[in-house]
Symmetry: C2
Subunit: 135 residues, 2 copies
Amino acid sequence: MDFVGHLTAHNIKPSLQRIKIYEYLHENRAHPTVETIYSDLVDEIPTLSKTTVYNTLKLFIDNGIASTVTIEDNEVRYDAIMDEHAHFKCDSCGNVYDIEMDISTIKFKKINSFKVETTNIYLKGKCNKCLTNKN
Amino acid sequence: MDFVGHLTAHNIKPSLQRIKIYEYLHENRAHPTVETIYSDLVDEIPTLSKTTVYNTLKLFIDNGIASTVTIEDNEVRYDAIMDEHAHFKCDSCGNVYDIEMDISTIKFKKINSFKVETTNIYLKGKCNKCLTNKN
DNA sequence: TTATAAATATGTAATGATTACAAACTTAGA
DNA sequence: TCTAAGTTTGTAATCATTACATATTTATAA
């Protein structure tokens, strides 16, 4: 995938930090937090600042190439996959999985008077790995 | 509704603070934040502490008579309605509305390997009032 | 009723994520 | 090469939440 082209196409000047952060989001689909992104990338970019991570993610969100995933109150996660999908968090191991789904299949009873622009679906429970391991 | 009985039935000793906070949650269905709950109730209970509000809400959640609503990253809201329902936040006026729905109608493509315990649905967009006012 | 222990509530201080802001650095164009 | 604009950085400020110690209330039994 052409990360630089994708940034440019969304009016984002492709600086080293921006390319690396976007690339990281794409290759680490575990929906990382700012802390994770920062600590993993600081090895590669020693001058990296946490403020830059915050600024860059905000820029991505404003320009529509990333979004936040807030399953729990206390942790904000980030996602570069912009296709419609749900998220599942295992409350045993803490991993967050993508769940493919067709949001148009959801039927609401009285949604007429609202103009829905975004739909977020968060599921919680136990993932297969934890169900099998029974730890 | 018998608030005291409901608290007792869920192993919560009905102190004044607990009764008032639970009552408040039931009567203010705009999904208030800790800040709102505290500042509205402190008139009635002048000695009320914000810590008590936090502690009490945590107790309610642990005992299954309330839940958190986290539509945005930066604000945690609380809800005493435990029936299955979705939430809609108007990004114009900021109000949060309950949306009745039957969660069992949702069809996921590959949910087999997960054991889903909780489903949260958050919608964002414009509410009817804001669409009409065109402010 | 009174003494005692357990449960609740309170206030202050600590924590930790996020944001504000100013300075340093980099890039692109004249 | 100079300048201006854009980008990155580090520090300090903010703000919600939690930890914790103290005070208060409640329940129980002598």
